[in-house]
Structures are given as structure tokens and as C-alpha cells.
């Protein structure tokens, strides 16, 4: 991107992005699979589990950084999927729907434990810490591990202050690395709506951070 943004057309009034990103989630192979699960076809459910288990596991691990909890919560996620899939309405992709359930389950877990800080202090094994140190080349090595853990703790706290939808969207954008266009396709919303929602979420997070800083 260059500095020519100021002369670009006003995007909220733009028309080009609106219809382009509509994805028909009702008539895909995935939809057929979901309908089979809705009819209580266990083989179809098994296929969904096997297709998405790695993704779900890595999302949970990304948030909690604990393998045992990740496994346990992943099981819970798919149990929820099994019981709730009859309510899946094909407005978003199945993965988006599962993603939301996964993030919600992580937050339920954190809320139940009530002491998010302790998630990292007591459950974070030495092996996890070593692995984290060794496998995050993108992170500034000069920042000590405990500072990074405190930062993760802070951002998880902040993310708990926004709605489930906002949390999922910002995580799909920044953690999963999806573009606005991809998010529009995945969620069934138009690009401008996604942009507005992301902006509001970012503002809420900033305000929450400000309140948290003032409270300390």
C-alpha cells in the first residue's frame, strides 16, 4: 500500500465489494456433509472430526499453550458440534462456525478457572515453555518469556471484554491471517460490514486496555 489512501473512494459507500464476496454455503460439498450429520449419520460426523481436528487443536493450543487442555477442550468442541449441528443454518462456513465454538470453549475454560494468570503459571509446563521459546522465531527473543506470558494474559483479558462475534472476527483476522475478503466469504457478511466490525472491536479493545491501565 502506498500513501494514496486519502484519495481512494469512500469505501462504506462503495458497491464493488458487496455482492462479490457472497458465498453459497448451502450448496457445497461441506453442506451435504453437514446435512448428513444433521440426519445423525455418524460416518459423516467422523469425517468432520477428522477434517477439522488439527485446526481445532491448534487454535486451542494457540490460546492456552497447554497440550492436555487443548485435547480436552477439542473433545468438548466436537461434542458441542455434534449436539448443536442441527441448529447450523449455513449462513457461514462450517469452519467459521466451529471456530466460534472453539474460541468460546477456550473462554469458558478460562472463565471457569477464573485465574487466567495461573493458567500460565501452574499449567504451563517446563516442556511447553521450552518449546515456546524454541519455536517462535517471529517473537522478539530479547523479550523475556514471563513478559510475553504477561502480554498474552493481558490480551486474553482484553478479548474477554468484547462480544463472541467480535472476538472470533479479530482472531480470524489477526491470528489465522485471513483477509477481509476471505472473512466476508467465510461469515456470509459483506466486506464493509467486516471492516466496520473489526474497527469497532479494535476501538473497544483500546478502551478496555485504557481502563485496565488506569485501574492498575
Amino acid at each position: 500500500m502506498d500513501g494514496s489512501i486519502g484519495i481512494l473512494p469512500f469505501p462504506l459507500a462503495g458497491e464493488g465489494t458487496r455482492a462479490r464476496t457472497r458465498v453459497d454455503h448451502k450448496n457445497s460439498d461441506e453442506a451435504a456433509l453437514v446435512r448428513r450429520v444433521q440426519a445423525r449419520d455418524e460416518m459423516a460426523f467422523r469425517e468432520i472430526v477428522e477434517r477439522h481436528q488439527s485446526k481445532v487443536f491448534s487454535i486451542i493450543y494457540g490460546i492456552l499453550r497447554n497440550r492436555n487442555d487443548a485435547e480436552d477442550i477439542a473433545q468438548q468442541v466436537f461434542a458441542k458440534v455434534y449436539f448443536s449441528i442441527k441448529n447450523f443454518d449455513f449462513r457461514s462456513s462450517l469452519l467459521t462456525w466451529i471456530y466460534k465454538i472453539t474460541v468460546n470453549e477456550c473462554y469458558d475454560y478460562l472463565r471457569k478457572k477464573r485465574v487466567r494468570k495461573l493458567v500460565y503459571e501452574s499449567d504451563f509446563s517446563q516442556e511447553d515453555a521450552r518449546r515456546m521459546e524454541a519455536s517462535e522465531p517471529a517473537v522478539d527473543a530479547a523479550v523475556p518469556a514471563d513478559t510475553r506470558l504477561a502480554q498474552r494474559d493481558l490480551i486474553l483479558k482484553l478479548l474477554s471484554k468484547v462480544s463472541e462475534e467480535e472476538r472470533s472476527l479479530i482472531l480470524m483476522k489477526e491470528v489465522e491471517g485471513h483477509s477481509v475478503e476471505e472473512l466476508a466469504g467465510m461469515t456470509g457478511l459483506n466486506e464493509n460490514t467486516i471492516k466496520v466490525k473489526l474497527f469497532r472491536t479494535r476501538q473497544k479493545l483500546l478502551k478496555a486496555a485504557g481502563r485496565l491501565t488506569r485501574a492498575r
Binding site: 500513501g3 489512501i5 486519502g6 485435547e71 455434534y82 490480551i155 479494535r202
Partner: protein, 164 residues
């Protein structure tokens, strides 16, 4: 934040520096905060090279959990959530109170009935007794200053006598 930045926020956060930013301190500050926050959120990314899968037999464990949990029932809401439990306890307490109230009010309602029956019986006696009945009634008044139910009975006697 000003519109020219707000409308292109995702591009700006990705590194674009529109001209407005160099002139507006407010937008610069807010963007700096959002960029820091974005960097923090990206800390939640799974480490590169992370390729772990759940342990073998994951699907079987999921199915075990599903069988153990069973279908979600409306009663689970009352049992599992603290709020639901409070509602259940409050409902039981209310039910108990209403029950106690009904039982006690029924008992107190029974007393006037008995009194009315007694007064009816004494009225019958008076009809049989004839002219000296008022004197007997008055003597009853003297004797029956014991309780409100007997007073009621005497009053009922007097009324019945006048009608006769």
C-alpha cells in the same frame, strides 16, 4: 479517529501511512495503540512448525464424551449453571412459603365454620326455650367472655333471636 483513517484502518494497520497521519496527532496515537494491540493478538498464533495432532483415538474419545453427556436437556440449565441453581432454589423456597401459607390459612378458615355451626345449634335451642330466651342469651354473654369465637357465637344468637 478521523474518517480518512477509519475508512482504511486495515490498510493503515498493515503499514500504510496516509498523509493525514503526519498531520493528526490524535489519529497517530490511536493507530499506534491499535498496532501494538494487533502485535499482541498475533502472539496467539500457533508457533511455526507446530504440527501436533490430538493423540490417536481422538474420535473414539469424542464419541465417549458425547455418550456420557447425552442430549442437552432443559434441566441441565438448572443443574449446570449457578444462575439456574439459584432460580431452582428460589422457586423451591417460594413453593414452600406458598404451601405453608395455604395450610395455615385453611386452618384459620376452619374455626369460623365451627363457630357458625355452634351458633346455629344454640339458636335452635332458643327457639325451643321461648320467652325467657333473651335472659339466657344474656347470661351466656356473661359466661362466654372467654374468646372471640364464643363472642361471635353469642352475637349470632342475639341476631337470630330478633329475627324470631
Amino acid at each position: 479517529m478521523h474518517r480518512e483513517i477509519e475508512n482504511h484502518i486495515e490498510d493503515v494497520l498493515a503499514g500504510s501511512e496516509p498523509q493525514h497521519m503526519s498531520q493528526c496527532e490524535e489519529c497517530r496515537t490511536e493507530i499506534r495503540g491499535m498496532r501494538e494491540q494487533t502485535a499482541l493478538i498475533r502472539e496467539l498464533r500457533v508457533p511455526e512448525g507446530f504440527a501436533d495432532e490430538p493423540r490417536p483415538g481422538f474420535y473414539a474419545r469424542v464419541m465417549e464424551r458425547i455418550e456420557a453427556e447425552g442430549p442437552i436437556s432443559i434441566w441441565n440449565l438448572f443443574i449446570e449453571s449457578a444462575f439456574g441453581r439459584r432460580i431452582a432454589v428460589a422457586s423451591l423456597a417460594l413453593e414452600l412459603l406458598v404451601g405453608v401459607y395455604l395450610v395455615t390459612s385453611e386452618r384459620s378458615a376452619e374455626d369460623p365454620t365451627i363457630a357458625a355451626q355452634e351458633s346455629q345449634a344454640s339458636a335452635d335451642q332458643m327457639v325451643v326455650a321461648g320467652e325467657d330466651a333473651p335472659a339466657r342469651v344474656l347470661s351466656q354473654v356473661d359466661q362466654s367472655s372467654a374468646g372471640p369465637s364464643s363472642q361471635d357465637a353469642v352475637l349470632a344468637d342475639l341476631v337470630t333471636y330478633r329475627e324470631q
